[in-house]
Every structure is written in C-alpha cells, then in structure tokens.
C-alpha cells in the first residue's frame, strides 16, 4: 500500500506532468527531524521531495500571493486550516479560484516537537513518524512509542475543521474532528476573562513586553494580506518603529481588530511567535464576542460571506450604553 507521502508525490507529479499546474506547494524535509517547511516544486522529478509527516504544519497558502502572478495555475496541498486560508484570500479578492488547484489533505493533527523533546530529555532524536494514533520516535537509545493525541500542537487540539473545506482533489479519506474541540475553543479566553481587570492588564503587559516586533504573527497570517501593512507605512506613522511597549500594544490591538471576523483560527500566529505570546487568546476573544453580539460566524468557510464587521443589521445589540 502506498504511503501518505507517496500519495502526495504522485498527485503532484501527475499534475505537473499533465501540465495542469506549473508549480506545486507542499512540504519537504530538512536536516532536522522536526522541520518540514514548504517546498516549491516545479518539475515532476522534484515531486519526490514532498512528504506528509507529523510536522507538516506550515501553511503554504499565503505563498500564493507572491507566486500566483508568475504561474498560470498552482497546485497547493491544503489541510483543513490551509483550505480556510484559501477562502480567506478568495473572500479578500487576493486570489482567483481558477488560478489554483487545491489538493485536499485531511489532517489528523500535527505534532509539537517541543513536547516530544521534553519527553526525552538528554536523548538525541533522529526521526519521528506517525502510524494512526501512535508516534514512533527514533532516539539514540532505541525507538519509542507515544500516543499522538498527547503530543499535538495546541492549535490542533482545538481544530474544528481537520478536513479541507474547499478542494479539487482529496488525497485520502476524510477524518473525524477530535471530540471536545468545541468545548476547548474558548477555554483560554474564558480563563483570561475571569481574571480581575488589573490582573488582566498585568497579564497582557507581561506577554507583550516580550514581543520583539518581528511581525512574524502578521506575516504568517493569511488574513493579514494587505499589500502594504498599515504598520509598515512611514507617513502617517501609525506606530513608532522603535520597540516601545505602548506601540507594541497598539500594534497587537489593531492587528487583532483587523482580523476580527476574518481570523479563521489556524493558530499560526501563536505557533510562529518566537516569544510564545498567546495571540490566539486575543483573536479568539474577538471571535467569541462577534458570535455573541452579531450571531455565530466562522470565517474561511464561504468566500462569498460578508465579514461581520463589513455588514450590519439594524437591530444589532451594542456592547456599550445606547441610551
């Protein structure tokens, strides 16, 4: 039976060979066992580089912004979250659907390398692979088996759409969403909400004090797809370039506001943050409020929706004194 990586390789090679697409975005391995960055495949022979392993978390969709001009059609492997990024770009009119062929990859959750490392302190790990719900970890002192569910990335533990929501081809059978994800979705938000006001401010101040202003959270985000971000402009200068905590708070508040009603909960912002700032607690707060005030809305499911802040109903409630 063909392995999952081979399936991806076959899909990509065929699409390239048949001229259906001129580039395929998927995942490849690098030197370290936990690395599986996005690969840009343009010839069928290189399709053999493609892999599907516990670490193929990276979202290839945003790369379409840079590449769709140069190619007639691009093939993209999309997990559930990646497919919602496609809808995000379609809804924002940053991409045309006919420019892409979507190879859907049902995803059973990606593995958190840090959790694996922590499980084997002092041991050298050379490879990790997944077989159903088990992780096989090759170490310098033999192969160990771990339950996959316990070592998922945090963001995958609250994933509501493990299957692509839009695709042209499906690599394999769809998977079931993890049980309990709906309950888990706003747990962290509720925990912050329950803090006292001053405690909340101190909490966020501590988090954002670590912010480097590297803008990785923004740059990785498919909802942050402006040609030139407002924070990169010199005139008017919306925030200072220097790393000032107040400017950082300004950036983080407005960043969250700009993705309000548009964030599709891929959690990449939080994953890429070098300072481990819990950004999803901010994004999800906005989702929670929008749901409560203006009705349930899940971004990235239908590119024809109007985003909640781009529409209104006359009878909307207000989160402030309307007397």
């Amino acid at each position: 039976m063909m392995g999952q990586s081979e399936k991806l390789q076959k899909i990509a090679a065929e699409a390239l060979e048949q001229g259906q697409v001129t580039m395929v975005l998927g995942w490849c391995k690098k030197d370290f066992w936990w690395q599986a960055p996005v690969a840009f495949i343009t010839d069928p022979a290189s399709a053999a580089r493609l892999v599907w392993d516990p670490f193929t978390v990276y979202n290839p969709v945003k790369y379409l912004l840079d590449n769709h001009h140069c190619h007639e059609k691009i093939g993209v492997f999309v997990k559930g979250c990646d497919s919602r990024a496609v809808n995000r770009l379609l809804q924002d009119r940053r991409l045309e659907r006919e420019k892409v062929v979507l190879f859907g990859v049902p995803c059973d959750g990606k593995t958190d390398a840090a959790k694996i490392k922590a499980a084997f302190p002092g041991r050298k790990i050379s490879a990790v692979s997944r077989v159903d719900e088990k992780l096989l970890v090759d170490t310098d002192s033999g192969t160990e088996t771990l339950p996959a569910a316990g070592y998922l990335l945090d963001k995958c533990q609250t994933c509501r759409h493990p299957n692509p929501v839009v695709y042209d081809v499906l690599a394999w059978e769809k998977v079931e969403p993890r049980p309990g994800v709906d309950d888990a979705r706003f747990v962290r938000v509720a925990a912050v909400e329950q803090k006292e006001l001053e405690e909340r401010y101190a909490y966020w101040l501590r988090q954002f004090d670590r912010c480097l202003r590297c803008f990785a959270c923004r740059n990785v985000c498919a909802a942050c797809n402006c040609r030139t971000c407002i924070f990169d402009q010199a005139e008017p200068r919306w925030i200072g370039k220097a790393s000032d905590l107040a400017d950082t708070l300004n950036y983080q508040i407005i960043r969250a506001f700009h993705v309000a009603g548009r964030c599709f909960e891929c959690g990449e912002c939080e994953r890429v943050c070098p300072a481990d700032i819990p950004l999803q607690e901010l994004n999800r707060k906005l989702i929670k409020d929008i749901n409560e005030y203006f009705g349930e809305y899940e971004a990235g499911l239908d590119p024809n929706d109007k985003p909640p802040l781009g529409t209104y109903r006359g009878e909307d409630p207000a989160g402030f004194d309307e007397s």
């Binding site: 040609r227 971000c229 402009q233 985003p307």
Partner: protein, 659 residues
C-alpha cells in the same frame, strides 16, 4: 514649514468674557508654524474678514486658523474670505471656542486653557491641510414634493410656476390634506374649501405638475441635485386612464366603513373618494374592507362601472425617479387621547375632538353643516371647549404648545354662536395665545361679540349625567369652583408629528427633534432647509403651524428649490474619499460599507521587471461620494483616505490635544 495665521474672535463678550484673548494669542504665537496672530471683536463682520484678507497678503500666510463660533455657523463665510485672499478655501480651520468653550464653561482660567488647546489642535490640523477642489455636477432639474396638503400644494404650484417639473406624491387617494377637512379658517373665516379647492384644481391642471396619489416614498438615494427616489404606487384597483369619476361604483358598493375624512362621523364605501371635491376625483378600492378582496365575491363596482376601469389585478408598483430637490410637506397627526380618560372621549358620543367639530360645522360634512349632538341629533345648548388637550402636558401628552388650538377654539366658539343661535360656548383655557396678525382681535370677537365665556382653568373631569355632560373645573381667577352641565364637549386636541415621520426622516437622512418633527438646518437662519442639502421642509411636519405660516413656509421652500434648480450645475463636496493605489490591496472592504455605491473596482497595469501585471484597486466616484469616511476605517492598510479629514490630520489633532 507652513505659514499659519491665527485669528481670534471676541464675538463681542461672548468669547472674550470667558476666554482670555491676550493669553490665548500669546500661546498661539508659540505654536509650530504660526507666524501671525491677531484678534477682532467680530471676525465675521466685514472689518474682521478684511483683516484676515489683509493679513494673508501682508504676511504671506498659507493656512488660516480662526478661533470663533462653531464651524457649523460660519465655516462657509470664512472659506469665502480666505478664497477671496487667494488661498484654497480648505486651507481654513476653525477652532470652536464659543459653543464648545466660552458658552459652556464659567471659569476663565480653565476655559482659556481649553481655548488654547482647541487652537493648537486646529493649527495642527491646518498644517496638514491640502488644497481641495470641487467638481461640477449636473442637476436633475425636477423636484419632488412629498405630501399633498396645503403645504405641498403651495410648494408644488410655486415650483411649477417657476418652470420646473414637479412630482407631487400623496399617500391618500386625493390631495387636500388636513385643510380640506376644515370648515372655516381663522382669522378671516374664509371657507377653507373655497380657498383650497381652486388650488387643488390648479395642481391637477398644471402642465408642470405630475400628481402621484395613493403613493408613498419607498427609498431615497443620491444627494442634492441628483436624488433617486423609489415611489410605491399603491394598487388603486381603478384604472386612472379609464375612470371618468362618475361615482357609480361607490354609489353601489355594499361595504360601508368609517370615513377617515369625516373623522368617523360618517361612512364611506370600500371603493371611495375621500370627499366630493377630491383631486383626482377618481376612487380607490380600500382592499382591507372590500368584499371582493376579503371574501372573493362581489365585484359590484366592476359590474356597474361604465368605463370598465375597475382592475382587481393591479399590483403595487415601484417607480424609480430622479430629482434635484425634495420638499417634505407631510403634515401632522392629531394627538391620540388614550391617556385622557378623565375627558370621557370615546365613552360618550357628545365628547368630540376639534377636528370632528370641524366636520360637524362643515356644510359638506355628515350633518350638512348643522351642529348637532352625535348622541341624539339635537342642537346643543351649552358647549364646553377644553383647550390644551395633550398639549403643554409633559406628564401625559406633548410638553410643547400646539400653537393652533387657541385660535381654532375661538373660531369654534364664534361658529357655534352663528350656527346655533342662543347656544353658549364655555372655553376652558390655561393661557390664551394669539400672536399673529389680526389674531388677538379675532379672539376678542369670540368673547366680546359672540358671547363665549372664557374660564381660566383646566378641566379636571367630564362625566355623563343623564343625557348631559358635567364638566368640572375651577375658575382660577375668581377662585370659584366650576361645575357646568353641558350638551357637548369639544377637545382641542394637540398636534403630533406623523406616526411615520421618523421612518421618512431615516429614508431622507434628515433628523427629527425629540417629538419627531423634522429639524430645520437652523431655527432662525435656515428655517426651511434641512441638514441634508437639497431636502426642504414645509408646513406642520417641521412643527405645529397654522395655515398662513404653512403657506409662507411652502413658498419659501419653493424658492429654495427654484434657486437650486436654476443653477447651471452644482459644485460637488470636495471632502471626498481618495484611494492611494500604491497601498490599495483591492480587497474592496471599502465598497462593502459605502452607503452611496461610490466605490468601484478598477484594474490598473503595473510593471514588474519585464512583465506587466494587472491589479485590482478601488476607485472613488467623487460625484457620488458624500464624504462619510466609513470606508477609511474598513480599509485596513489605510489606502483610502478622506480629504479634509485625513488620517494624518486626525492623528495630528489627537497628538495636539494630548501633547
């Protein structure tokens, strides 16, 4: 660096008494970019304006800040001033140091501090102002008048006489409105119908007036000079082309319902014209009460119609029309008396409202002009008139004075004495208000010549006693308790805004006051205009008004419309949105929030190395853009900006305030 001139206005003592002008000037001199500071007792006067013009020339000023009254007051005046001195009119900024400073603060120290801050903010904004230019827009040289009462009729006739086409939209099957219901009019006692009916006929026959009855305004889009209005022509069920107005249909119609025109004192048919002099004199079927429409059987009118004009299949039609100007003349409703149980209205047939009384007096009314008690058809001997019913009552009614009741009650007393010789009129009042030409004399006539007894006391209770009514009050002047036994009680009901006034205001983007009367742009200086350019007011929709005032306002509104439609073209609002295509991502978030459809997508071509790429960007139609700025916030990269209120300017204002 800009060369900014700051001019402070004393406004007599209005500003100078509370804001230390000297100190404010000293502070202004130190503000970045300020090269000249001066002051004047009345900057809006010719002397004050000349001072600004001269200073611009003498000191090569390129931006002007005036600390004075609200920009809503004199912004246009001062824009013209700086324009006359050769500057772009939008190089002017006004710091509102009167309405928002000297008039609301008492302490001179802190008020001065605030005035300085307001000047600093205006200087910061002015330093970032750009020259703005209007573009010329065509005008749709037609007017819409909403409401076919005397206000609408007068406005329509005046506009039409000036040579412009007018559409007159009326909700009822006929024009005429409230005035058509009245018998005589004060203070001359002309017959209402005698003076109104000819005007109604004029409307019908005027080549420039297009009468659209049984219709309502559904939607209003566009802006001054270029409104697009959707009108709902309600299904009349009568083909207006075929109908000859013979009246056979309503003579035979078997359904009888209370006549609205007769205030329920008489019946009309389901197919009806509201009154005999109706214009157009063609009936409509009231489908809610029509046997055919409610039970599917009848069709009597169709059978008897000699012209074959009855059309049960008619549907409401939505018609879209373009106008350059709109006159709103939708009139008033009479106050509902649900809160006034003490007057026994609705419980006893001889307690009637003033408008019902008008119908009783009217020769074409239900009694043929005889004043008869509804209970027994006998003429009343004693009649009590109660004023201020629902007016001047902040507890249960309207806190305002309805303005017309004193006069019409005097008229009623006079009419009673004429129509029922020997009858006694008792008028219960709080105050009698008669400002108006010949009004006091008219009121004097009521009690001097016609024998009306005026009692200064509000009636506390009316209750039946046998076939009579007991009216209980006190004569506050003598201190005597009053208990009258009368045959009829007439309630001078207050004037309300139309029940659907707010809905219409929202469609027109005009505002209302707390009681839903439409707001004029300025209570004294712009009494017939609204805050929405091109929309004008006439009559009681703006506030309680009698016929002379209504007609005067209607003609005034007509003049405003005519002067607007007479223009070759209009200058567009230059404070419109503008797209920086460098920054525009083309995601069209702006388009989603634009209420005017003023944003469209366009594709531009850009060179990337050797290849040419097409890219979507937003484009603003400056003729349609009204400058609200909603798009600027929807645009995440800040690619769309609002001229005159740019991001740079507002951020500079924030910085200047918080400094």
């Amino acid at each position: 660096m800009k060369r900014i001139g700051v001019f402070l206005c004393w406004c007599g003592s209005n500003i100078a008494a509370t804001v230390d002008i000297e100190e404010t000037m000293a502070a202004a001199r130190k503000m970045p970019g300020v090269v000249y500071v001066d002051h004047n007792k009345y900057t809006c006067s010719e002397i004050g304006q000349a001072m600004i013009r001269e200073a611009i020339a003498a000191h090569r000023l390129d931006r002007v800040v005036i600390g004075s009254c609200s920009p809503r007051m004199h912004e246009n005046t001062f824009r013209k001033t700086v324009e006359a001195a050769g500057l772009n009119p939008f190089y002017l900024e006004i710091a509102n140091i009167r309405e928002q400073c000297s008039w609301v603060h008492k302490d001179k120290l802190t008020a001065t501090e605030k005035a300085i801050s307001l000047i600093r903010t205006a200087v910061a904004k002015a330093a970032r102002s750009e020259p703005l230019f209007s573009t010329e827009m065509s005008i749709e040289r037609r007017a819409l008048v909403i409401g076919g009462g005397i206000a609408g009729i007068q406005a329509a006739l005046d506009i039409a006489d000036a040579g412009f086409e007018v559409d007159l939209v009326e909700k009822e099957p006929s024009i005429g409105g409230r005035m058509a219901q009245l018998d005589k009019t004060f203070p001359t006692l002309d017959c209402s119908a005698c003076i109104l009916t000819p005007k109604m006929v004029d409307v019908a026959q005027h080549g420039n007036i297009n009468l659209i009855t049984y219709s309502e305004v559904e939607k209003v889009e566009g802006f001054v000079g270029n409104f697009t209005v959707t009108i709902r022509n309600r299904a009349r069920s009568v083909d207006m082309e075929k109908c000859t107005g013979c009246g056979d249909c309503y003579a035979k119609c078997p359904s009888k319902v209370d006549s609205e025109f007769e205030m329920g004192l008489a019946k009309r048919r389901a197919i009806y014209t509201p009154f005999p002099q109706a214009v157009p004199n063609k009936p409509a079927i009231d489908r809610a009460n029509c046997r055919y429409f409610t039970s599917g059987k009848c069709k009597v009118c169709q059978k008897v119609c000699p012209a074959g004009a009855i059309d049960y299949e008619q549907q409401d039609q939505l018609v879209e029309k373009k106008y350059g100007a709109i006159v709103v003349a939708t009139g008033f409703d009479t106050h509902k008396l649900d809160n006034y149980g003490e007057y026994a209205y609705g419980k006893h047939p001889d307690v009637i409202t003033s408008l019902e009384f008008e119908r009783l007096v009217n020769a074409s009314g239900p009694t043929g002009g005889k004043i008869l008690r509804p209970s027994n058809g006998q003429p009343p001997k004693n009649v009590a008139f109660i004023q201020c019913v629902g007016s001047r009552d902040k507890a249960k009614g309207n806190p305002y004075c309805a303005k017309i009741c004193c006069m019409y009650t005097a008229k009623h007393a006079i009419l009673l004495s004429e129509k029922v010789p020997g009858a006694n009129a008792f008028v219960f009042y709080i105050d009698v208000r008669t400002p108006g030409k010949d009004y006091e004399e008219f009121y004097n006539r009521a009690y001097e010549e016609c024998g009306a007894t005026y009692i200064r006391g509000n009636v506390s209770k009316v209750f039946p006693d046998g076939d009579k009514l007991v009216v209980r009050s006190v004569d506050a002047l003598s201190g005597a308790l009053v208990e009258l036994v009368v045959d009829m009680v007439v309630l001078a009901t207050s004037v309300d805004a139309r029940a659907d006034a707010r809905e219409l205001a929202q469609k027109l983007s005009i505002t209302t006051n707390a009681y839903n009367f439409f707001n004029e742009a300025h209570p004294k200086l712009r009494p017939v205009e609204t805050q929405t350019a091109g929309v004008f007011l006439a009559g009681a929709c703006q506030g309680p008004k009698d016929i002379p005032d209504t007609v005067a306002q209607a003609s005034a509104a007509a003049v405003k419309v005519v002067s607007l439609l007479n223009k070759e073209s209009l200058l567009s609002n230059p404070t419109v949105a503008e797209v920086d295509i460098k920054l525009c991502s083309g995601d069209m978030s702006c388009l989603a929030v634009c209420p005017y459809g003023a944003i469209a997508e366009k594709f531009i071509e850009e060179r990337h190395g050797r290849e040419i790429r097409k890219r979507r960007v937003a484009e603003v139609n400056t003729a349609l853009c009204q400058g609200c700025g909603a798009c600027t916030v929807a645009c995440r990269p800040g690619a769309i900006n609002l001229k005159g209120f740019t991001n740079e300017q507002i951020l500079a204002e924030v910085d200047a305030i918080c400094l």
